[in-house]
Symmetry: C2
Subunit: 274 residues, 2 copies
């Protein structure tokens, strides 16, 4: 039986969705139909949400689950009138925090995920541009300004990881692709050697690499399993020989690759969480 779930928020919906998805992942033998309804910041919009939830409730065999992060009590009360099982995040936790902090909440709607301070915000935008400017070894002269330099063979996940770390944490990440030219002596390219403390390697299972490369260039030598095996073997030998820390990305999401590298490397976020 499928259960419908509604993440309802007066802002972007990111908190409700992130938390809700984590909770539902604990029941992975059940199928959920997830809906995110952001910017529900008036009673009228909340009434429309209630109509939608009730419509789905009438179709489903069980009442929908509602996970909301709405600050305004009057809007929350409207949602509570829907035919669903409501888990109210702010109601649950803000009151506890209020008691602990001996302070009333300011009840600011849409406070999260909004720009509190341009200075902190620019950190992320600057980091995105840094990642793009220093993507794929395009330029190596800014490596002194990098917090981290990701190295690995083509399509091992360097670019998405750099961009995620920039957007999420404001970290300056350059990346450099290692190619066959670099494998002759199994030493790091000269442009990287002086920044060795910032270098982190990505590696990947050759089978998976071949599948990814085939999507880009089907049936090419570049995508062949033989080529992928050769490159991965060489790159791992280089990492070991040079003492470059590296991570196996095959079964990891960008979020996991990023946070694991930060945890092992002691890298801290530069931007405030948003």
């Amino acid at each position: 039986m499928k259960r419908s779930v509604f993440f309802v928020s007066d802002g972007t919906g990111i908190t409700a969705e992130t938390l809700g998805h984590s909770l539902l992942a604990q029941f992975d033998n059940l199928e959920f139909e997830e809906n995110t309804l952001p910017y529900i910041d008036t009673v009228e919009k909340a009434e429309a949400v209630v109509r939608e939830i009730n419509r789905v409730a009438a179709l489903d065999e069980a009442r929908p689950i509602i996970i909301d992060t709405i600050v305004d009590k009057s809007i929350r009360q409207v949602i509570a009138g829907a035919n669903g099982y409501m888990m109210d995040v702010f109601d649950t936790f803000v009151e506890k925090l209020q008691t602990e902090l001996c302070l009333a909440p300011t009840n600011t709607v849409g406070k999260t995920h909004s720009i509190v301070d341009n200075k902190h915000y620019n950190v992320r935008i600057d980091a995105v541009h840094f990642a793009l400017d220093n993507d794929d070894g395009a330029r190596t002269r800014h490596y002194d300004k990098a917090d981290l330099i990701l190295v690995g063979v083509s399509r091992s996940g360097k670019t998405p990881t750099s961009l995620y770390m920039a957007l999420q944490f404001g970290i300056h990440v350059a990346n450099y692709p290692l190619t066959e030219d670099d494998f002759d002596d199994l030493r790091l390219p000269a442009s990287l050697r002086e920044h060795k403390s910032k270098i982190y390697g990505l590696t990947i299972d050759p089978q998976r690499l071949s599948a990814i490369r085939n999507e880009r260039r089907a049936n090419s030598t570049y995508a062949s399993l033989g080529q992928c095996q050769k490159e991965v073997r060489a790159v791992e030998a280089m990492f070991n020989r040079e003492g470059v820390p590296f991570i196996q990305t095959t079964h990891l999401s960008i979020e996991e690759i990023s946070t694991r590298i930060m945890a092992t490397n002691g890298l801290k976020r530069r931007s405030l969480p948003i």
Copy 2:
């Protein structure tokens, strides 16, 4: 008085941090020192966390706040022994969900933010590469495969927004920079006209644009307030004349720009939440 906060997780820490930051934002007249401790997945690591929390507790005037998303009860119990005020997310919500769903949780550690399914995961990576390949009007021939085409003047936020939507939602976003050449007749460039239903404009306050451009190219004509005013006036006139929907990005985060565009345009995420 500053309060220390610890977000403790057995996975990436993203859920604990996102939720915790949302909750703390409700008390914006207090200063918080936020610490994220990911991958706390053994009793030994939990004991080290307790020592760290106790160390901070001894220095601070008030006990730290602990917000955790740890699945394993025995690890959670170790954390609960720290000198802090603990808000346990899974303990609070998973039991409620269990009752509602009439189903025991599978208690899988690190389930969120991990790759459940390569197919769904590739959607995001493909979307990142789509955004990069179609960034800044570099190529216009893939616009038929775009879900959205962002247009706006240089540095109005197109690239970071495209990348965020790719990473977070797996949406294929191209972007096209509008320059003075495009403002002669205030009509959309020919390459965009046939994709009009996918086009969304970004605009920005000229003062803020000038500040952003000055960081890139200080004291240039490009960054001058006069130039920014001229471009913004022209681009808004074009949007109005062509009936292109547009959003004012000046005070919005990338998260807000993205989710607002998706909400008004009816765009749905292509990837599962992760």
